[in-house]
């Protein structure tokens, strides 16, 4: 029997349903990561729909730990690349190396050949590297020398951006931001969550290596066990494809995207890719919440993550102190 919870204003609310697949991932991730349920949901949506995810948030809020935990929960391979100004495309994609014993070139595959790639601080790399990654994200294959190699399936890029330190960064242009299905803005944990983080850190012991030892980190606590694998993920992806999208829901999505193109405070509205992302992400969210059809709640929950990185405010609107969030709230009001 589900227990009744309360909204922040005291309104009683019945508990939410969640699909077994999502619950399993969430449970396993919650062993190492405290809170961040929405981020886990967004990572799952990206995995289930084959989209890519851009996480925006300050350092130190467990982005890497979370992504690695999700990967481990579904037995996915995971790589992390710290983007810097001197990074080269071949550092990500790979290159051909001359084998001096055989006198022939052999392919050295880069870290992009993985299921989950965490591109940390993507805006610190040069535009050349950014485009190489974004091209691979789009085509899901890369060329090394004269040979084209398919990337493993599933392939998901989770890129991060630090919104605070902008010096020496290369801001992703709108056309490239559009390639990310979702952009999710991370926030600091609540006090309760942060207390729990500290409490868990006190339980971490020493990790012995030979005669020496070093303190364990949260990464050591992830563990190797997993209840799901790639086949389960594939099955879940198939189920997402079966989620029904009604004509009314499609109208809501298309209307919202169209409204971004006519709002006077928006210099650049959303491309049709936004409507596609909204519908696909809503299907995945419906699946995660145990439904076989998408509803307006999915649209309203995902609008921020699918719309805001695809619009640009006018100078007048910026001068008046307006924010994309204000405008999105207006657009959602105008939907009716």
């Amino acid at each position: 029997m589900a227990t009744m919870t309360q909204h922040s204003n005291g309104v009683p609310v019945l508990p939410d349903e969640i699909a077994p697949f999502a619950r399993s991932v969430r449970d396993q991730v919650s062993r190492t990561v405290v809170g961040q349920q929405r981020v886990v949901e967004r990572v799952l949506i990206a995995l289930l729909t084959g989209g890519h995810l851009l996480l925006e948030g300050v350092p130190g809020i467990a982005k890497t730990l979370l992504v690695q935990s999700v990967g481990r929960a579904i037995d996915l391979s995971f790589n992390r690349v710290q983007f810097t100004i001197d990074l080269l495309p071949s550092d990500i994609v790979g290159s051909e190396i001359l084998d001096q014993r055989t006198g022939e070139f052999r392919v050295h595959k880069g870290p992009i050949f993985t299921n989950l790639l965490l591109a940390d601080e993507i805006n610190r790399a040069s535009p050349k590297v950014q485009s190489a990654l974004l091209e691979a994200m789009q085509e899901r294959r890369v060329s090394i020398g004269e040979t084209t190699h398919d990337l493993p399936a599933p392939f998901l890029v989770i890129a991060t951006q630090n919104p605070v330190e902008q010096a020496g960064t290369f801001e992703l242009p709108e056309a490239q931001l559009d390639r990310f299905m979702l952009r999710h803005r991370l926030s600091y944990p609540t006090r309760e969550e942060e207390t729990e983080v500290v409490r868990r850190s006190l339980d971490l012991r020493l990790k012995r290596r030979g005669d020496g030892a070093m303190p364990m980190t949260a990464f050591d606590a992830i563990g190797d066990e997993h209840q799901l694998d790639v086949a389960d993920l594939t099955k879940a992806m198939e189920q997402v494809q079966q989620v029904h999208v009604s004509e009314v829901f499609m109208r809501d999505c298309v209307e919202l995207v169209a409204l971004t193109r006519s709002h006077p405070d928006l210099e650049l509205g959303c491309s049709p890719r936004a409507a596609l992302a909204l519908v696909q992400a809503s299907r995945a969210r419906a699946f995660i919440h145990g439904r076989d059809f998408a509803i307006p709640e999915d649209l309203f929950a995902l609008a921020e993550d699918t719309i805001l990185h695809r619009v640009r405010l006018t100078y007048d609107a910026l001068a008046e102190g307006r924010t994309p969030d204000d405008i999105l709230a207006e657009l959602l009001e105008q939907l009716a």
Partner: protein, 278 residues
Amino acid sequence: MSSVLVLVMATFATVLGAPQDVQDEGAADRGISGRVTFTSSHEDLDARPDQDLSSPLLVRVRRTGGEGDMIRYEATYIGSVEGTFDVADFLVRRGGGPIEDVPPLVVSIASNLPVGHGTDVFEAPVGIEPIGGGNRRLLIAAIALWVAFPFVRLGVRLLRRTEEPEEAVEAPAPTLADQLRPLVEGAASGTLSVDERARLELLLFRAWRERLELSDADQASVLSVLRRHPESSPLVTALEGWLHAPAPSVDEAEIGALLEPYRSLETVSASSSEGGVP
């Protein structure tokens, strides 16, 4: 430009080796060279050195031979003004002294320009009068306008600010009840389009949001609350079953019955937060 033209023509005329450019002795058109030949006992005849662009006639002289004690000269001239002139007036002796034995060398310069055009070869044709009195004045006027523009604009803004704002007469916004009524009736009769059904659903969400005083909450969480709230969830889940489920779990009669209270909704306006949902 015109001076260059005249100099080129004068230089051309001194060549004198091109008979096709030279008209008959005693007559020539303006700007076209003519020539006269004469003899003199003086060996040092030359053209006057003080000729310039304002001279009616430009003359050049060269020796071409001798006839006994007499020297043969050829004078080439270009007329810039219509009229009759004596080429002898344009001759001097290099060593100074009077010219005694050169007869009058009268030449006639004719003009082919239209009547009334004037006689100046270098006069600009009518219609190329500089606009606004010349480039300099135009430039000064443009700079003055450019400098004055911000002041004028500032003045206009200040004037507008001081004007009393007119009272805007706005049509009253349609109330939530006004917007809902035709949609509820359409739902009962089964005549709603996709767009109208979508609007009906979102307007009902708005009504419940105001009823539960959730207007300040973010809209994503509001819908989540409405789906699970004991009072609103029957309507919200019925709407989902009707509008979004793959096989509608609610028929139109049930929806009509659920929506019946909203047909006579009177008190909630589109922007008010007062109650009104049954």
